[in-house]
């Protein structure tokens, strides 16, 4: 395909132009801040790149296309270009980013209606898409890192979008700072690679990288993985993701479910030839992924905030993807990235729709005085609530009404039918019910892990068993989430009189599309039984003739009976999911929220560990945050005040003192000045005569 370079640049620059229009132009020209205009521009600059990406996808011949833009740095041995690479992997990621991204932009047009910062929101979202496209399309690690940092920045801006609330800013800070730790490791890896290879473009790295000495390669892959744990929320750098739910729900859907958090996986898949040559680190990746996966799943059972459940679910599913990478099946990890983008975005957008509806319930309840009004009335007669003082709190929890708490939801299927159906589909998909999308990708991960273990790598058995157990837990907590939200009796006060309504089409249309994708998306990667084709395997890894961009560990060949084991594995996986869903459906349908108390009793101290999120935040607070803050306050702040400021002020004082000393020369008496002239003349003449 000739002349694709301008298309690539258009794909990249349209979101940037959108960010400029929605951000800079709207900043200086307030007349531009019309919701219709901003929303349309914001969505179009992501939808058009999607169409262009589809065009490139359809016309792709198999040879990677590199589109250089211009030289960024040329200093000594370092030569870095803004060059972009179109190959199977980057095209797939681009389709996911722009496709799901466009749907979420459309959703945001409805969700953010009435917000004062509507234009800023779309500016940040467009900027995010630009950065993410740089990440997945870049042809060298530096452009990738630019995108990496860019998405981190946009994540900060969007988590802290409602910046007037200080807890949101704390969450944004936490996300950025924790990410930074990972970025530091990423930078170290880049330095090592540059030192040994002399260049950072993927062509060089993929060609010469696998040949590096084993120790060096291990370090590089380990450092890259640590960077990935920061971005993709694995142990030990996952703590920012639950807090990131403070941002608006479209942000949670786009950034913290479908795209940004998959950057770590993309990095590993892109550099898969290197990772495969570092088997020791693959073990680390697999173990960390497994532990994260099951840890997050257990925490998710105990959460009452619907977005927190989905956040921990995301962490857990990301664990699955790393587990897959750890057993050498990178293409399956990317497959799960894709299916996860579909159903997790659908879940998050659905939860946003629910929260949207519950906000209306909240306003109605405040209006009728059933719950205290959240904002302080301007005059005493402003709201009816002040005329009906409450004697008891009608909510099952302390504090103001929480539109995100599932304990005051329930029975929403009556009021929000589209949200209900799509959320159900996505729930079943993530639980792994065949033939929905999640079943195929999760099952493929498990069978690849099993095969790797069968091939002789013992740690893969651990991965497989953790994956299986977590699949059960996933089915349980997700079904609990669905049942408590949509089924049963409505549990908010005055539920007979006050109810929510379905969201507008801008919000439900993306839900429908994503729901459909969650149903059919799995068929792109059928298990390789009975010669069923796996399109995604063919696309990413290639076939015997030509290799694709994503490497795969070589396993087998296995004896004939293995096919039987494979079928068994698939049946076991499906059964686990079905059992989990049925169990949770029955229990939480029958007992409602009270079943949580039963679970708490049943698991005792273990439940408390899960509920307190394994005390990770407390440990970090005590072990890292407090010492750093204390050390700064006691050590660095006095240094800054006394030494640094002292030096600067000292210089000023020195100049002042010297001036004070010297100014006595200015007597104002003319004859003194004349005397100075005469003395000077005498001096010069003496020098001329005697020297």
């Amino acid at each position: 395909m000739e002349n694709t370079a301008p298309l690539v640049w258009l794909i990249l620059l349209l979101p940037l132009a959108g960010a400029f229009f929605n951000g800079v132009v709207a900043l200086f020209v307030p007349a531009v801040r019309k919701e219709g205009l901003i929303g349309t521009v914001g969505t179009a600059v992501v939808a058009i790149p999607f169409i262009l990406a589809v065009y490139l996808f359809v016309g792709f011949q198999g040879e990677p296309i590199v589109a250089p833009f211009y030289t960024w740095m040329a200093a000594g041995d370092l030569h870095v270009e803004f060059a972009y690479r179109i190959d199977q992997l980057s095209l797939l990621m681009t389709l996911i980013v722009t496709g799901v991204g466009a749907l979420i932009h459309l959703y945001s047009a409805g969700y953010m209606h009435g917000d004062r910062g509507y234009w800023k929101f779309f500016a940040y979202l467009n900027l995010f898409i630009f950065a993410m496209l740089n990440l997945v399309l870049g042809n060298n690690l530096v452009v990738l890192f630019l995108g990496w940092e860019g998405v981190g920045l946009c994540s900060y801006l969007l988590i802290g979008f409602w910046y007037e609330e200080s807890s949101n800013m704390e969450a944004a800070n936490k996300a950025f700072i924790v990410n930074r730790v990972g970025d530091f490791a990423f930078l170290m890896a880049m330095f090592v690679l540059f030192h040994y290879l002399g260049a950072l473009d993927f062509g060089t790295i993929l060609r010469d990288g696998p040949g590096l000495p084993q120790g060096t390669l291990n370090w590089v892959v380990l450092l890259l993985f640590i960077g990935a744990t920061g971005k993709s929320a694995q142990i030990p750098l996952f703590v920012w993701l639950p807090d990131a739910m403070a941002g608006p729900t479209p942000v949670s859907a786009l950034i913290h479910a479908a795209t940004m958090v998959t950057s770590g996986l993309y990095l590993l898949a892109r550099l898969s030839p290197l990772v495969l040559n570092a088997p020791a680190i693959m073990i680390v990746i697999a173990i960390v992924g497994s532990l994260t996966c099951i840890m997050a799943a257990t925490i998710a059972i105990t959460q009452n905030d619907i977005k927190k459940v989905l956040a921990y679910s995301t962490i857990s599913q990301l664990g699955y993807m790393f587990m897959s990478a750890g057993v050498g099946a990178f293409f399956v990890a990317i497959f799960h990235v894709m299916t996860h983008a579909f159903f997790k975005a659908c879940l998050f957008l659905g939860s946003g729709s629910v929260i949207h509806g519950m906000h209306h319930v909240e306003h109605d309840l405040e209006h009728h005085g059933v719950i205290p009004s959240r904002h302080v009335p301007e005059t005493p007669l402003d709201s009816e609530a002040t005329q009906h003082p409450l004697r008891h709190n009608p909510l099952p929890y302390d504090g103001p009404f929480d539109a995100q708490d599932m304990r005051t939801m329930g029975g929403l299927y009556r009021f929000m039918p589209i949200t209900n159906v799509t959320f159900l589909i996505a729930t079943l998909a993530i639980a792994g019910i065949p033939p929905l999308a999640g079943f195929f990708s999760k099952d493929e991960i498990l069978s690849q892990a099993f095969a790797y273990g069968y091939d002789g790598h013992g740690y893969a058995w651990f991965v497989w068993i953790v994956g299986l157990i977590t699949a059960l837990i996933t089915a349980i907590y997700m079904t609990r989430c669905y049942v408590l939200t949509f089924l049963g009796k409505s549990r908010w006060p005055e539920a007979e009189k006050v109810h929510p309504h379905e969201s507008p089409w801008t919000m439900t249309l993306p839900l429908i599309v994503l729901g459909l994708l969650s149903v059919v998306g799995g068929f792109l990667g059928l298990p390789h039984l009975f010669n069923w084709p796996s399109w995604i395997h063919h696309w990413l890894v290639g076939s015997a003739g030509e290799a694709g961009p994503v490497a795969q560990a070589v396993v087998g060949p296995f004896p004939e009976q293995y096919e039987l084991i494979e079928i068994l594995l698939i049946i076991v996986g499906a059964l686990v999911a079905i059992v989990g869903v049925f169990f949770a459906w029955y229990r939480w349908r029958r007992y409602g929220v009270d079943y949580d108390a039963t679970v708490r009793r049943r698991f005792g101290a273990l439940y408390r560990w899960w509920e307190r999120k394994y005390y990770w935040d407390e440990a970090y607070q005590k072990g890292v945050v407090a010492p750093v803050v204390e050390g700064s306050r006691e050590g660095l702040a006095p240094f800054d005040q006394r030494v640094v400021d002292g030096a600067v002020n000292g210089l000023a004082k020195l100049a002042y003192g010297a001036a004070r000393g010297l100014r006595v020369v200015q007597t104002g008496i003319v004859q003194n000045y004349a005397m100075a002239v005469v003395l000077g003349v005498v001096l010069v003449v003496a020098l001329m005569l005697f020297v």
């Binding site: 200015q666 007597t667 008496i669 004859q671």
Partner: protein
């Protein structure tokens, strides 16, 4: 004894030094101006004496320049003194010290 060149130069030197001392030590601004004129004329004397001694007329040409410059400078200097007098009503150099720190 013959009046050699040295005598003329010595006279010039003495006149010059008297002029310098006048500038440095006298209090009246007009006297200081006169001392400056004295210094200029001492230099004229030096130039003429050396010109005569070396039979080179360039020295005398330079005297013309010096004289015209001296005249112009005296005019300007007196104008400044008159302007200052109109402001401060004094010609005592020690009272004109606006540039004191």
């Amino acid at each position: 004894m013959n009046t050699t060149l040295d005598w003329y130069l010595a006279l010039s030197a003495v006149l010059f030094v008297i002029g310098v001392l006048g500038v440095l030590l006298r209090r009246n601004v007009i006297v200081i101006l006169m001392s400056v004129e004295l210094m200029l004329n001492a230099v004229n004397l030096t130039l003429v004496a050396v010109s005569q001694g070396r039979a080179d007329v360039s020295g005398q040409i330079l005297v013309f320049f010096v004289m015209s410059v001296a005249a112009a400078e005296a005019a300007v200097g007196l104008a400044i003194i008159i302007a200052i007098f109109r402001n401060k009503l004094t010609v005592d150099i020690n009272d004109i010290n606006l540039f004191k720190y």
